[in-house]
């Protein structure tokens, strides 16, 4: 298993290209927010259309900004996926053997989830700046602090469970990020709707749409995350001799699972619906982030595959 240096270099170059494209998308989405028309208050569920009689059918200039942002985001996501594909090919293995690769993949899942939502629920397109700006910031941080040379996997990671456990963990975490961002925006937007100050927040999708997007995404992510936990336990049983041992990573995954279980319950409980439930989702988001960063970088445990010294 040798590393192909030219592919590894291509991977690093694609990383910079992805960051550059995403930055352009942030500019485009910001322009949409700055120059955009204020959408009519969303009385219609996104997608059903029709009732917004005042809106002309042809796309306005601001919509063109939004579409441009979306197009550039798609290109960025392609380059972003290329980072992982070329890395995997360079080392001839799945490209999630260290924290740089894992974090890059999580961010990619977030971007793709946003793109899927934006095509299915057009109103969600308007939150582009709020998704892509954190994406750019995290990618820059990943490139600066987590970068690891392309290399082979350590012995413990050479198992088919790597594909199962880590893929589902990446998928679950990436979707939770989108859900968390939607809940943060919901909290901002619902306060703005109540107080009605005319800030740019009024150009966001309606609070109810944001809340629904947050919930749907979390509902989709939760079983995946549960599956990641079970697959991890099965792998731990054959790699470390026990299926659960309160290793820091395991503990924090447990904590985040419990918080998200709380969110799903809270959203259907009188007294917790709306803003309190959204806060729970934001806490879950923070826990997942903490698990990704603190547990890999600061604490020592069996999951210390970060490739960082």
């Amino acid at each position: 298993m040798t590393v192909d240096p030219s592919l590894a270099e291509l991977s690093d170059r694609l990383f910079s290209i992805a960051v550059a494209l995403y930055s352009v998308a942030v500019v485009a989405f910001s322009a949409q927010l700055a120059f955009g028309r204020r959408p009519a208050r969303e009385l219609v569920p996104a997608g059903s259309g029709g009732a917004d009689a005042g809106a002309p059918a042809a796309p306005l200039r601001s919509d063109r900004w939004g579409l441009a942002g979306l197009a550039v985001t798609v290109l960025g996501a392609a380059a972003h996926a290329g980072v992982l594909i070329t890395r995997g090919m360079a080392a001839d293995r799945l490209p999630w053997g260290n924290m740089y690769e894992f974090a890059t993949a999580v961010v990619l899942v977030g971007v793709v989830a946003y793109l899927v939502l934006a095509t299915r629920v057009p109103a969600v397109r308007d939150i582009g700046a709020f998704v892509l700006a954190p994406v750019v910031i995290s990618l820059v941080a990943i490139g600066l602090f987590l970068y690891t040379e392309t290399g082979p996997l350590v012995a413990a990671l050479r198992s088919s469970w790597l594909a199962v456990h880590v893929s589902s963990a990446i998928l679950g975490s990436g979707l939770f990020f989108v859900s968390g961002i939607a809940s943060v925006l919901y909290l901002l937007r619902s306060r703005q709707e109540a107080g009605a100050d005319g800030s740019f927040l009024s150009r966001l999708p309606g609070a109810a749409t944001l809340d629904r997007v947050a919930h749907r995404t979390a509902v989709f992510a939760f079983p995946i995350y549960t599956f990641a936990m079970i697959a991890g336990a099965i792998w731990a049983e054959s790699a470390w001799g026990r299926f659960w041992g309160w290793d820091p990573k395991e503990t924090w995954m447990f904590i985040s699972w419990v918080v998200y279980a709380g969110y799903l319950h809270a959203r259907t409980t009188v007294g917790w619906r709306g803003r309190p439930a959204a806060w729970v989702n934001v806490v879950g988001f923070a826990v997942v982030l903490f698990n990704l960063l603190y547990v890999n970088m600061v604490s020592t445990g069996l999951h210390s595959y970060g490739g960082l010294d």
């Binding site: 298993m1 040798t2 969303e42 009385l43 219609v44 569920p45 059903s48 290399g151 082979p152 996997l153 350590v154 012995a155 413990a156 050479r158 198992s159 469970w161 309606g206 109810a208 629904r212 749907r216 509902v219 939760f222 079983p223 549960t226 599956f227 079970i230 336990a233 099965i234 792998w235 049983e237 054959s238 790699a239 470390w240 001799g241 026990r242 299926f243 659960w244 041992g245 309160w246 290793d247 820091p248 503990t251 924090w252 447990f254 904590i255 419990v258 918080v259 279980a261 709380g262 319950h265 809270a266 259907t268 409980t269 009188v270 007294g271 917790w272 826990v287 547990v295 604490s299 445990g301």
Partner: protein, 558 residues
């Protein structure tokens, strides 16, 4: 746990007189029980559980790393004992952690068991009668047709049965209080019981999972031991370097199994990343020849209820000690613990307390082992984890080791207090390559003859883990059903059209879960209309309300 609180009496009627003590106690118990099993309590308990787990990851835990706990005690001599009294170093076995999860599970059971009974009842009961005003349902609409009323309901029933609804027809006037809105025969249909079944399966499987975990903890044990190539061990607590066992484990009743390590191999990539560790072992009952097997990382030996793992490895340098009188101890060795996993530089000690009759002094070697040694500025370092050029830097001591003093001491180092007290004196030091000899002042020759590998093996017995796996899979299946299936209720009622010709069909539906109900409802009513048109002699006239049923959008979906 209930998403909709079952109807409960708002308040007990004021007691007529002082109720008996028993009744009051029962009332109090009932009040607390309801409070405990309420959904808000469950949410709060979930949060408490998450909070309670946090110190377990931030503070060192005895179950994970005893040394880290000892270090914490040394670093925080005043704080550590206080924390220890609060079980801060055994969080996951602490009474308060157990209190939180047991309360949560009691709350869960208290919520799920009544729902289970209700669900079983609902499975057997007919779908509930249609509400009086179908237009008030989240999704509703009206269709006009030329067909007579009963024929319309026949068509609707057929269409619904094809879609696997359970359908019941009622004579509306008889089953509901008479009134203007509740006239005419009606139909109730229901499907999607699997959603609630999934919900119950999810929660009950969590209970099963907890029971499996508890059983595994009570009847499970594990032991760890370092085994050098050519040596072996048998499954007994006396032999293990460290072991832990559940409260109900009888140490005389462990599975009779012995393991011999025949060969150990560590393979490395070009950049010295460890690629694989494999151990060739033989296993079998005591005294048996044993079956050969190869185990490694991610590939344990699995026997009925027992598992044997390779959890680590290292080097055990071999020495031949020749006393001045010619007595030779050939190839004695001791495992040296790796202090750096990337270069496998290791530290350890070889103790020879009994050199034969007439030799008073005990001998010990303490030192540093480098699988690929390199002298840098007079200091031996290791540059490669593979044994390409094994070298040792040893200090030789003679005197009294203190092994029989009654105080436990590490096998990997000498007792420093014996050296301080001068009972153990350094008598020589050297850096040796394989074949080189250090001769001590009294004429004793210590030859570095080579190196063996040792494997850290772990023997685990957990009778609960298959149970836990089955429960975890059931949790996931229940979760998928709970989150992605939907329960649908569909109601229809026919009445004469206001203008006298034909029939007006009023339909409404109530959906739980599954997202966008409006589009699905519109689709279903569209299909009903098509089916009605097919049967009716003339195409149905547009209903008075509009061309198509206007699905009213539920507030949830806005």
């Amino acid at each position: 746990m209930s998403t909709v609180a079952p109807p409960r009496p708002a308040a007990a009627p004021p007691p007529p007189a002082r109720p008996s003590l028993g009744a009051r106690a029962w009332g109090l118990w009932l009040r607390w029980w309801r409070r405990l099993t309420a959904m808000r309590t469950a949410i709060v308990l979930l949060f408490l559980l998450a909070l309670a787990a946090i110190p377990g990851s931030l503070l060192p835990q005895r179950s994970l790393n005893q040394n880290a706990v000892r270090q914490y005690f040394a670093d925080h001599p005043t704080l550590a004992p206080v924390l220890d009294r609060l079980y801060a170093f055994d969080v996951f076995g602490s009474p308060w952690f157990a209190a939180v999860y047991l309360l949560l599970f009691v709350s869960l059971i208290g919520c799920v068991v009544p729902r289970l009974a209700e669900h079983v009842r609902a499975l057997r009961a007919a779908p509930p009668p249609a509400p009086r005003r179908l237009q008030r349902l989240p999704d509703s609409g009206e269709l006009a047709t030329a067909l007579p009323g009963p024929a319309v309901l026949d068509v609707v029933e057929e269409e619904l049965r094809v879609r696997r609804f359970r359908v019941v027809r009622r004579d509306g006037a008889a089953s509901t209080p008479p009134g203007p809105a509740a006239s005419g025969p009606e139909l109730s249909a229901e499907k999607g019981f699997w959603k609630e079944s999934g919900n119950l399966l999810f929660h009950l499987s969590l209970v099963a999972l907890l029971l499996g975990l508890a059983g595994g903890k009570l009847w499970g044990y594990e032991g760890s031991i370092l085994v050098t190539e050519g040596q072996g061990f048998c499954n007994s607590f006396q032999q293990y370097d460290t072991h832990s066992s559940g409260a109900l484990v009888d140490s005389g009743d462990l599975s009779p199994l012995c393991i011999d390590l025949e060969d150990f191999r560590a393979e490395y990539e070009e950049d010295l990343t460890a690629a694989s560790y494999t151990a060739d072992i033989r296993y079998g009952g005591p005294g048996e020849e044993g079956e050969p097997a190869t185990i490694g990382v991610n590939d344990p030996l699995r026997l009925d209820g027992d598992r044997v793992y390779v959890t680590g490895h290292g080097y055990a340098p071999r020495f031949t000690v020749t006393l001045p009188d010619g007595t030779a101890f050939t190839d004695v060795s001791a495992p040296f613990l790796p202090s750096d996993q990337t270069t496998m530089s290791s530290e350890g000690a070889l103790k020879l307390p009994d050199l034969g009759a007439g030799v008073e002094d005990q001998l010990a070697l303490e030192g540093f082992f480098a699988p690929t040694g390199l002298m840098q500025g007079g200091v031996l370092t290791s540059i490669d984890p593979r044994p390409l050029n094994p070298q040792v830097a040893v200090l030789a001591y003679q005197g009294y080791l203190g092994l029989d003093s009654g105080l436990p001491q590490s096998v990997y180092s000498l007792d420093a207090s014996q050296i301080e007290r001068g009972r153990l004196a350094e008598v020589g030091r050297a850096n040796l390559a394989v074949g080189e000899t250090l001769t001590l002042p009294d004429g004793t020759a210590v030859t570095f003859t080579g190196v063996s590998q040792f494997a850290a093996l772990q023997f685990s017995h957990d009778p609960g883990q298959v149970w836990v796996l089955a429960a975890a899979i059931a949790v996931l299946v229940g979760l998928l059903a709970l989150l992605f299936l939907r329960r649908e209720r569909f109601f229809a009622r026919v009445g004469p059209a206001p203008d006298g010709g034909g029939t007006v069909l009023t339909v409404g539906s109530l959906t739980r879960g599954g997202g966008e109900s409006a589009t699905r409802f519109a689709e279903l009513t569209g299909q009903l209309r098509a089916a009605l048109d097919e049967r009716s002699p003339t195409p149905s006239a547009p209903p008075s309300g509009g061309a198509a049923p206007e699905p009213e959008v539920s507030p949830r979906d806005r």
